[in-house]
């Protein structure tokens, strides 16, 4: 094995083995996310997690609910960390459910904060306690500001309007949302 050519070939072989394993892991990871986020049925299983939040955590109130910048900062954080799975409008996608569903919007701020902090690891939602607590509350403030939007049915237009009209001008002023 001390021959540099043999060592080179051995390393190449191992590198390709690693690449193949990475590809398999990617496939497994995708299959997992597809499995857990691919249908309404699975999304309902996600929403069922909201009911498992401890009572004490549910009762927590949002300490920055009155902060005028919280929604705008929360939108920025949402776009940075959440939109890749939940979609830029928070209406969900292949990888994660809608946050504008009634189940989420009717949940208390404390419930959403707890889910954000602890994740739902077995369903693909990572733990977000690496974001400082005030930033997690900012995200919760933004999500709660979005309001309920029912899922579009086939050939139907949107059912309910968004309730965040009042924050749009502030977001435009802060440069975190594009003009329509």
């Amino acid at each position: 094995m001390k021959n540099p050519v043999l060592q080179f070939h051995s390393s190449l072989l191992m590198i390709w083995t690693m690449v193949a394993l990475l590809a398999v892991c990617a496939r497994v990871g995708f299959a997992k996310s597809e499995d857990t986020a691919g249908s309404d049925h699975h999304h309902h299983r996600h929403y069922a997690e909201l009911a498992k939040v401890p009572e004490k955590a549910r009762a927590r109130s949002n300490p920055i609910a009155e902060d005028p910048d919280a929604t705008v900062a929360g939108r920025k954080l949402f776009e940075q960390h959440c939109a890749e799975c939940h979609g830029s409008t928070a209406e969900g996608g292949r990888r994660a459910p809608s946050l504008r569903a009634e189940e989420v919007q009717r949940a208390t701020p404390g419930t959403l904060f707890w889910i954000l902090t602890n994740g739902v690891v077995r369903r693909g939602m990572p733990v977000w306690s690496k974001l400082p607590e005030p930033q997690r509350w900012q995200i919760v403030t933004y999500v709660k500001s979005l309001g309920i939007r029912e899922k579009k049915k086939a050939n139907d237009e949107e059912v309910k309007p968004v309730k965040d009209e009042h924050i749009q001008p502030r977001m435009r002023a802060a440069g975190s949302v594009q003009k329509p």
Binding site: L22, A26, G29, E84, V121, R123, M125, P126, P134, Q135
Partner: protein, 301 residues
């Protein structure tokens, strides 16, 4: 073949560059919130389906021989929310000597608990195939000492090691502070070598806990500062803090909204067995949706 005298354009660096360019072209960037640690691990794993490509450099001083520049490229993939798998390619340049590829590693981190707890354990399992010239000092274990690195590359590269490394990553975030403790045990897979032990501990905190309303690169919340300490704990025959090296390293990470993270960490040797200075920096970029892209290549939808 791998030793290219005074050639700074090594395969590892070229691969890192190609990988970054290709990934930037193919995949969407994702904003990262990386810790400043370079040796210590906290309990946070890669988001599922995301790929993070990282390049790290270590400039080390060497008493009694030439200083060196060691570097590695890292491909970190979130396979699931509880499992992150990472491949490493290592290399080094020793001044007045040569540049060479020194080996590869395959690391897996597995989260044990579903929710956040007072302490959050993650199991770390790594296989390494490296030669004796490896100088990246990604961890210190056993009786590692500065003098081990003083020989010339030509003789060091003839030693080929297969190693298994196990770590328990314990971490807690409280009021914005992260505290992490990583005990480690490593075993050279040849039977004559004993188990070796080491440690890494770290603490870090973002410079601002609240996010500002504006998109900005220089906002305080984008910077995380911290300090880490790492060193050896001897081996199964001689356990303890003696006859090994220890380092203290302040560290800072700058997380840009575009998905790039820059880390800087000067590490200072704490005893005569340690290098006096290990100046480290790293650049990383996180890409979202890599899993879906690979899946499509393999016939997924």
């Amino acid at each position: 073949m791998w030793a290219m005298k005074k050639n700074n354009n090594t395969p590892v660096r070229r691969l890192a560059l190609y990988a970054l360019v290709l990934a930037a072209w193919l995949i969407r960037p994702a904003a990262a919130q990386e810790s400043p640690y370079i040796v210590t691990y906290d309990h946070y794993l890669e988001e599922p389906g995301n790929l993070e490509i990282e390049y790290f450099s270590t400039f080390g001083t060497q008493r009694g021989a030439s200083d060196f520049h060691a570097f590695w490229v890292e491909f970190e993939y979130g396979a699931t929310a509880w499992w992150t798998t990472t491949g490493y390619l290592d290399g080094q340049t020793t001044l007045n000597d040569s540049t060479l590829f020194t080996g590869f590693r395959w690391e897996n981190r597995i989260r044990l608990l579903q929710r956040e707890h007072f302490i959050n354990p993650v199991v770390y399992i790594e296989y390494e195939q490296k030669n004796g010239a490896d100088k990246i000092l990604k961890e210190v274990e056993g009786h590692d000492a500065e003098s081990d690195y003083a020989e010339r590359n030509a003789s060091l590269r003839n030693e080929l090691d297969h190693e298994l490394e196990l770590k328990l990553l314990l971490s807690k975030t409280f009021k914005g502070w992260n505290f992490a403790v990583n005990p480690l045990a490593g075993k050279n897979l040849s039977p004559s070598h004993p188990w070796e032990f080491g440690y890494a501990v770290g603490a870090s905190r973002p410079l601002a806990l609240k996010a500002s309303a504006n998109w900005c690169n220089l906002c305080l919340e984008n910077f995380i500062a911290g300090v880490e300490m790492y060193g050896g704990l001897g081996d199964a025959h001689s356990f303890g803090l003696h006859d090994t090296s220890h380092y203290l390293a302040p560290a800072v990470a700058w997380n840009l909204p575009s998905g790039w993270t820059l880390r800087l960490s000067p590490g200072f040797g704490l005893n005569d067995n340690s290098h006096r200075l290990l100046l480290r920096w790293g650049l990383s970029h996180e890409f979202s949706g890599f899993g879906e892209m690979v899946s499509r290549l393999f016939g997924g939808h």
